[in-house]
Point group: C2
Chain length 303, copies 2
Amino acid sequence: MSKKPVLVVGSTALDTVECPAGKVEDALGGSCFFFSTAASLMTPVRLVGVVGTDFPMDKIDFLKNRNVDLRGLQVKEGNTFRWGGRYHEDPNLRDTLFTELGVFEQFNPELPEHFRSTPLVFLGNIQPSLQLKVLEQINNPELVVLDTMNLWIDLTLDTLKEAVSRVDLIIVNDEEALQLTGKVNLLQAVVELFRMGPDKVIVKKGQHGAMLFDSQGRRFYAPAYPVMNVKDPTGAGDTFAGGFLGYLASHDMDDPATWRRAVIYGSVIASFAVEDFSMNRTRDLTMEEVECRVEELRDLVSF
Amino acid sequence: MSKKPVLVVGSTALDTVECPAGKVEDALGGSCFFFSTAASLMTPVRLVGVVGTDFPMDKIDFLKNRNVDLRGLQVKEGNTFRWGGRYHEDPNLRDTLFTELGVFEQFNPELPEHFRSTPLVFLGNIQPSLQLKVLEQINNPELVVLDTMNLWIDLTLDTLKEAVSRVDLIIVNDEEALQLTGKVNLLQAVVELFRMGPDKVIVKKGQHGAMLFDSQGRRFYAPAYPVMNVKDPTGAGDTFAGGFLGYLASHDMDDPATWRRAVIYGSVIASFAVEDFSMNRTRDLTMEEVECRVEELRDLVSF
């Protein structure tokens, strides 16, 4: 099977994270880097983002070594986007300590010429107007996936809906699905999301797994791999998306089974990501380790 | 396969339920009746509970017709336990409108002689001291399952722990598992529950399904069957328990696969229960309808 490249456009950040098990400062973060680390386990990645002149480039050497094309990473005068958060004993609860946008505030995604015909595209969680700008620059993609968050549903709903109408698949969590559609039942929300344009929907349910729906009524449920010690859930969603698209891009997308397995691979790789800060666990992850948990998940749901 | 009888001891009530889709008054409710309706689809049930002299006995004629032995149902001078609740648009949210214990306040479970050697026992969600009284009256059960709730964790923790230490399997929801053990991670809570005595644990996660754990480290995840229109979630947990124990009692309990399928059957029968008020959907449910959803669940998680 040929490995198709995947384009990712999103945030590139330095995260300061506190949790009961410890703390990291200025660790690699942002949707682009989490996504790329996961996807590049399986397929070449093309990354579009922006960092400041303060960005320690050696932090992303490992991405070059695993087939991530960084020629779309702009370096602008100023500071890199920095985010700080603190997780509680219950890792589902967190406080944002600070958000310093830096050069990310003026981010204007520009795709290098050789990125424009990338077959698979992931629009990471950035302003919907920027997601639209990316859509204008791509040619005949096979699959465009959009991620978003409650902030954009609150602030720029119309632009978000415009972007959603132009993609093939939307990834949301369960709360966002209800908020975006005004429904109280998840299945009803999914029907409404199909009306908005996409013909596939993934609903992430955190520790409860993820569901893939298509507009023909097919649905698939992937449980989360049960993790005993969740250290840092930051980036779990982007890691999931990276694993999902990385698997898709390297397998037969005409086979419905590929889509189910892609959700499982995304889920499994995300389960590793939350076991340590930043990309500490996923940057050295092997596909053998991934396969092992995939088989455990298969057993977990067999009856 | 022989069908073993199952003993259930719990509440027997008349429920008044309001939800966006309508309202019922004095509808059949309580853990005993929900459990029995589900379990008796597959195996004989022996019921121990108490109702007042006001109880309309014709409401439970259908249970006699499906092999529920009601000779343990006491009738006492006074009113039947009545509960009233109102569900919001989001059926996960409800307000309790009233709780009138009536004769249930003085409930003293007494097992008819021929109930005492029942091989499978379900201690429904009642005061732990009453669960202990039942344990004193049973002889050599093969399996004792205990259900409980946050109220007893708050009010009578020591007595609850005593009861838990004497059963084989505890059924809790995810919040109760954490509260009962003081943990913030579900897997850690399960390890602690095994320390308390049971060698099997079921954690119910509502719309996110249920997990079965055993003390040898085996675990099984059953997704909830996705329901588009949840009308009345009252009794879903007891219906799950009834389906689970009904399946176990009528299949080879020495086969680990039986336990997994039992969780699935419990989950599926509960998915029917929430589609209508009271036992309106489950009282006429057929095993053909159940099997159909079991196969849908099998497809839902296959990859």
